[in-house]
Amino acid sequence: MIKKSLSKMISQTEIAADIFELIVESELAGEITSPGQFVHIRVSNHWDLLLRRPISISSFDPLSKQMTLIYRREGKGTQMLSEWRTGMELDILGPLGNGFPVGEADPGQTAVLAGGGIGVPPLYELSKQLTAKGVNVIHILGFQTAAAVFYEQEFKKLGTTLITTADGTYGTKGFVTDVLKDIEFDCLYACGPAAMLRALEKSCPDKKVYLSLEERMACGIGACLACVCKTKDDRSGAAYKKVCSDGPVFRAGEVLI
């Protein structure tokens, strides 16, 4: 169930260049039903930066009521969020959306988890849940440059982890798709920029592929219709899905990316 809750900030760390890991204690941790759901955070109690910011959940623990959130400091809002300190209370709305279907990969099968940049975080919780049920996981994580790489060790503990950088300063030079073409797998889960998702969708037309989309949003709960995308099988021209509440995860082929 979606709740609005004041959540206590436990810690905040810059884990790579402009990438922040924010740990909060929140009743919302007990409401999360699938990896890939997200939260919507008010970065200021004032009304100058009006809208909430959608932020990925990278892991959670319903028992300790802790959630780990990872975001990139990019604009004014995330700059303000990065200045929040331990003990402060954040106004968080969540969990929002529908995450990755863990049940689509069976024990003994191989799942590829492909992430690009700030699309990497939700794959961490997904990988924890897949490995817990006996799925073999292969992570392909793409970043711009060496300084932007994060969570490599965390992912390595769960399975094979391949890193790519666009500028070749770390791991394989290139994009996640360059590495994926040499790998055998049953199921693909991905989160990252639209260009990456389009390339992945195109490169594996016969596989089970689940893609997590990103779009500018306002309400986060499906009311404002800011984050809509068209469905692929639409004849009327008016059919749509909302990234925030129908997604953000869609099966490849379901919507136009």
Partner: protein, 313 residues
């Protein structure tokens, strides 16, 4: 006795606070958070004859103390709204104000006629002020004679009172208000969004795919207050005020300017529980300010003497 109940043409409101059209969908999403019966009314998302997808994305961009949107009147079409959305809303004890939009005069008339027959629709809001569509919308809201004619025709077609939603994107808002009054409007809702634009720092191009969008949020509140102040003194119609309301204090300010009820828009996106919070705070604030009833606040900025309910009623 309640300090908050308000009577307007077609509307018996238990309080004067309602979500604004386009900021609340058809209520389902917000019903996860609270009982919609606490609201004074609900202004549902604009209805057109046919389903509309709206504009390409990105459709929103944040601005200082506000946001731009260019949704483009996306809606499932009149038939679906009448068959699904309105019956669903009838489970709540709350009057519905149906926002009516179109690309031609005929469109408006058809939607007004059909949607006003639905039992929980107590009033129409004639949308002649959407800045984000190429035809219709604002085109009807910037030329007084055109607005007057459309109002007259929609009034004829509608089974319930008609409120006309005015655009602030005009040279003379008073002239527009007088025109819709002459066309037979039962009330005015104002203001819709102000046309604005944001450019991307790296590309130099507009952030919104539609290039321009409607500015809403606290940034536009002073514009709304000024326009309501002017219009409320010039016409004899009740005004439902909107534009950046996010607190009970804002509600009182809109009443002082000349409003008889208010709608909350963008603030719903920031805090899904904002409407019940404002309703809760409003009663207490009236006590603090020494009012017996909220109607005493209407037009206080320009009225010489106190008078109950909306002025010249």
């Amino acid at each position: 006795m309640s300090k908050l109940n308000v009577q307007l043409p077609g509307l018996e409101l238990k309080n004067p606070v309602m979500p604004a059209s386009g900021c609340f969908g058809f209520g389902k999403e917000y019903s996860q958070f609270y009982d919609l019966s606490v609201l004074g009314a609900i202004m549902i998302k604009a209805a057109t004859v046919e389903p509309r997808f709206g504009n390409p994305t990105p459709r929103v961009a944040e601005t200082s103390s506000g946001m731009l949107n260019a949704i483009g009147l996306q809606n499932p079409g009149m038939d679906k709204i009448i068959e699904d959305e309105l019956p669903w809303l009838s489970q709540f004890d709350v009057p519905i104000i149906a926002n009516v939009a179109g690309s031609s005069e005929e469109d408006y008339i058809v939607v007004a006629k059909e949607i006003s027959k639905v039992s929980n629709v107590h009033a129409l809001e004639l949308n002649i002020s959407c800045p984000n569509v190429k035809t219709g919308g604002i085109a009807f809201g910037t030329i007084p004679q055109v607005a007057k004619e459309l109002t007259r025709k929609v009034k004829e077609a509608s089974a319930v009172p008609v409120y006309v939603k005015l655009s602030p994107n005009v040279t003379n808002i008073v002239e527009m208000a007088k025109a819709v009054e002459a066309g037979g409007a039962d009330g005015i809702t104002m203001i819709n969004t102000l046309v604005g634009m944001r450019l991307d720092l790296k590309t130099g191009q507009p952030i919104l795919a539609n290039r321009t969008g409607g500015l809403s949020g606290p940034a536009i509140k002073p514009v709304a207050i000024r326009m309501i102040y002017e219009v409320s003194q010039a016409v004899s119609l009740p005004i439902i005020g909107m534009g950046g309301i996010q607190s009970a204090e804002d509600v009182i300010e809109f009443f002082y300017a000349g409003a008889s009820a208010v709608a909350v828009g963008t603030a719903n996106f920031v805090d899904p529980l904002i409407c019940p919070a404002i309703i809760h705070d409003l009663e207490e604030l009236l006590d603090q300010l020494g009012y017996e009833h909220i109607s005493e606040c209407t037009g206080r900025s320009w009225k010489k003497h106190e008078s109950p309910a909306y002025h010249r009623a």
